[in-house]
């Protein structure tokens, strides 16, 4: 195919390499880079998709950012250009602050427990991983029923065990986001399985050597398991953070796309969707998408920066591809 005698072996190898990855390059141009620039342009326009976009300078950005200081000083959200935008950011951050650490810790400890030599270990792993296989609409529909005060089982169980009346869960604006966190915890097996793979990669020699030195269970955990697992924790943290900002399906299904009650579950991505596909405010949605992109970028960079302090790369790992 590439038998031009003028090309050196080196050049031929490079050309063949580029040829193999060309499907991705084409896709990257059409489905990533091109759309990114286009949406940056749309973010400065009024665009209802029917008529062509109209440049409106920074009107979309102004709408979002105007009145922040007044609102901060007076604690009056009605001073904001778009209070709903900030509400959706607040909902998303609340969920992130609750769900991310909880998911990381629970997933990690489950993986540590499931990495032991215990009877039926594969059965346990299967049970814990199963919910993440079916993630999506069916899970949201099921949990909508579990939390339901009329037909659900959660409140009867709480009343039977703790002898207190359970909250309104998804129907209560104060409890709606925590309910979603609990629901998300059911799918913790997805992160767990990645930790488990990491744990299986920790050389057993380390533990044997530590045992010879007299280290107990706790010391072995703190000085071997935890440092060796920091790269995986880091990986799960970054991907979990990005995933949280894209949270959509569960809340769309449970609230029929409304984000209720009283916008208590109006996640960022849901509000973006509403703007784009319900109100046809494509320009404004593009602005939201770019702000989302920048938030995620900054947070990711911060986590990457911090990783120099807490992520431990074993020499051997760093050298490896």
């Amino acid at each position: 195919m590439l038998k031009h005698s003028r090309l050196s072996l080196r050049q031929r190898e490079a050309l063949t390499g580029y040829l193999y990855i060309s499907p991705w390059i084409v896709g990257f141009l059409i489905f990533t880079i091109g759309p990114m620039f286009a949406s940056l342009y749309y973010s400065f326009t009024d665009y209802d998709i029917i008529s062509p976009p109209v440049w409106n300078n920074f009107a979309n950005y102004k709408k979002i950012f105007s009145g922040i200081f007044e609102a901060l000083i007076t604690h009056d959200s009605s001073k904001l250009g778009d209070p709903i935008f900030w509400q959706s950011l607040k909902v998303t951050l609340t969920y992130a602050v609750l769900a991310l650490p909880l998911g990381l810790i629970v997933g990690f400890f489950l993986a540590v427990l499931l990495n032991q030599k215990i009877p039926f270990v594969n059965l346990w792993r299967t049970i814990y991983f199963l919910p993440s296989v079916i993630a999506g609409v069916a899970v949201a529909l099921l949990w909508g029923r579990i939390f339901n005060p009329r037909v659900g089982i959660l409140n009867p169980i709480i009343e039977a065990v703790l002898h207190v009346k359970g909250p309104g869960w998804l129907a209560d604006p104060k409890w709606a986001v925590p309910s979603l966190v609990i629901m998300g915890l059911w799918g913790v097996g997805g992160g767990m399985i990645i930790y488990l793979a990491g744990l299986q990669g920790v050389p057993t020699d380390f533990y044997d050597a530590a045992k010879v030195d007299g280290a107990n269970l706790y010391q072995r955990f703190i000085h071997i398991t935890l440092p060796m697992m920091t790269p995986v924790i880091f990986y799960n943290l970054v991907l979990g953070m990005i995933g949280t900002f894209q949270y959509f399906t569960e809340v769309y299904v449970i609230t029929n796309g409304q984000g209720g009650p009283v916008r208590s579950t109006l996640f960022y991505n849901l509000y973006l969707y509403q703007n784009a596909f319900r109100y046809n405010h494509m320009g404004y949605a593009a602005t939201m998408a770019w702000i989302l992109f920048i938030i995620v970028l900054v947070l990711t960079l911060l986590v990457f920066r911090s990783s120099e302090v807490w992520v431990y790369y074993e020499g051997e790992l760093r050298g490896r591809e």
């Binding site: 991983f129 296989v133 529909l141 089982i153 992109f293």
Partner: protein, 354 residues
């Protein structure tokens, strides 16, 4: 047991240490078992809801086993039967009516003229198992789930084929060739994992609208043919573990690079390709966001969109919604159990570290 834990802080006895570790492990595993129960209960609840009828869901929400009260006919009226204890012997009696003071008026169906009054809480209502398998038929026929299933399968398999084809080529390119920009491009590819898809969504929607692809399956299938970062990364990490000597041997035998890929790499990379294919299936099967955006008319909906709409319209029919939900989760669960090793042994995720 506890006494052996009290060892000298200066020189812990080997036995004390071991007993302590045993206790820690025991309690940890009890916790593990408790968590497993918490994971399973929602599944049981789902199955239970799908097998009950609306009355059972309303009147008997806590019973996992679908059941209905046994009734007896007394004077032409159907009354619920109770097991009533009188002087230590048990009798089956029908509840005629409630009486003040949380009591009930019971009658013996064989002798309906004499009534007895007992505290209601002391008597045991009698149930028989009452399973409503017809929920599944009713749920699946009330919406065109067959069409939804076909659409989902088309997207999943045609898209999956495109993903495997393109990702294999791209991963091979990234793992086996030396070129100036390949490393940079690979980093660029990886960075797209962190790119929120929303930032590309609107122009892509506009593009698909201009070429008339909105409300067709094409927007959900065609992009898969242009590779994606996750799958390329996984395959490439696996390809890297295949010794270069095999390539060299093939090259010496006169194989072209395509032949090397097909006959040398692919047979070796079977576990990774299988894993990537399974993950794609799960992703495409469960995906809701993109089908919701790109598919508008009912005949084009996927299972996920169809199920969500079914719930939006008939949320009150919990038993039917849960029956349809079970049908939706069966394919991923069957696939999961067929390919269990891929998940639980963690083979696939090895590539992620380092």
């Amino acid at each position: 047991m506890a006494a052996t834990n009290r060892t000298s802080p200066y020189r812990p006895l080997a036995l004390g240490n071991r007993a302590q570790e045993f206790l820690i492990k025991l309690s940890a595993n009890l916790l593990l078992a408790g968590g497993a129960v918490a994971i399973i209960i929602p599944f049981l609840f789902m199955l239970s809801l799908a097998l009950k009828d609306a009355t059972q869901i309303r009147s008997d929400p806590l019973s996992i086993i679908p059941r209905s009260p046994i009734t007896a006919e007394v004077n032409g009226e159907k009354l619920p039967l109770y097991e009533v204890a009188i002087d230590g012997t048990k009798h089956q009696m029908a509840l005629l009516k409630n009486a003040p003071g949380k009591k009930g008026v019971f009658v013996d169906p064989a002798d309906p003229d004499q009534t007895y009054t007992f505290l209601l809480a002391d008597q045991k209502p009698l149930y028989h198992i009452d399973i409503h398998l017809e929920n599944f038929r009713e749920a699946l026929t009330s919406q065109p789930f067959g069409k939804y299933f076909l659409n989902t399968m088309t997207i999943t398999f045609v898209g999956g084929f495109g993903m495997l084809l393109s990702c294999t080529f791209v991963a091979y390119g990234f793992s086996r060739f030396r070129a100036r920009w390949l490393d940079v491009l690979f980093l660029l590819l990886l960075s797209t994992i962190m790119l929120p898809s929303q930032v590309r969504l609107i122009p892509i929607y506009v593009l698909f609208q201009k070429i008339g692809w909105i409300d067709t399956l094409l927007p959900l299938i065609v992009p898969a043919f242009f590779a994606n970062a996750y799958d390329v990364f996984m395959l490439r990490q696996f390809f890297k573990t295949i010794p270069f000597e095999l390539d060299d041997a093939a090259k010496i035998d006169g194989a072209s690079s395509i032949q090397t890929m097909v006959y040398v790499m692919l047979p070796q990379a079977r576990p990774a390709i299988l894993a990537v294919a399974i993950f794609h299936f799960l992703y495409a099967w469960n995906d809701f966001y993109e089908p919701l955006i790109f598919l508008h008319s009912q005949k084009n909906w996927t299972m996920a969109v169809g199920l969500q709409t079914f719930n939006a319209l008939y949320a009150i029919n919990t038993h039917l919604i849960m029956a349809a939900s079970i049908v939706m989760i069966i394919p991923p669960i069957v696939l999961f159990f067929m390919a269990q090793k891929v998940f639980t042994q963690g083979v696939v995720f090895r590539g992620f570290k380092g």
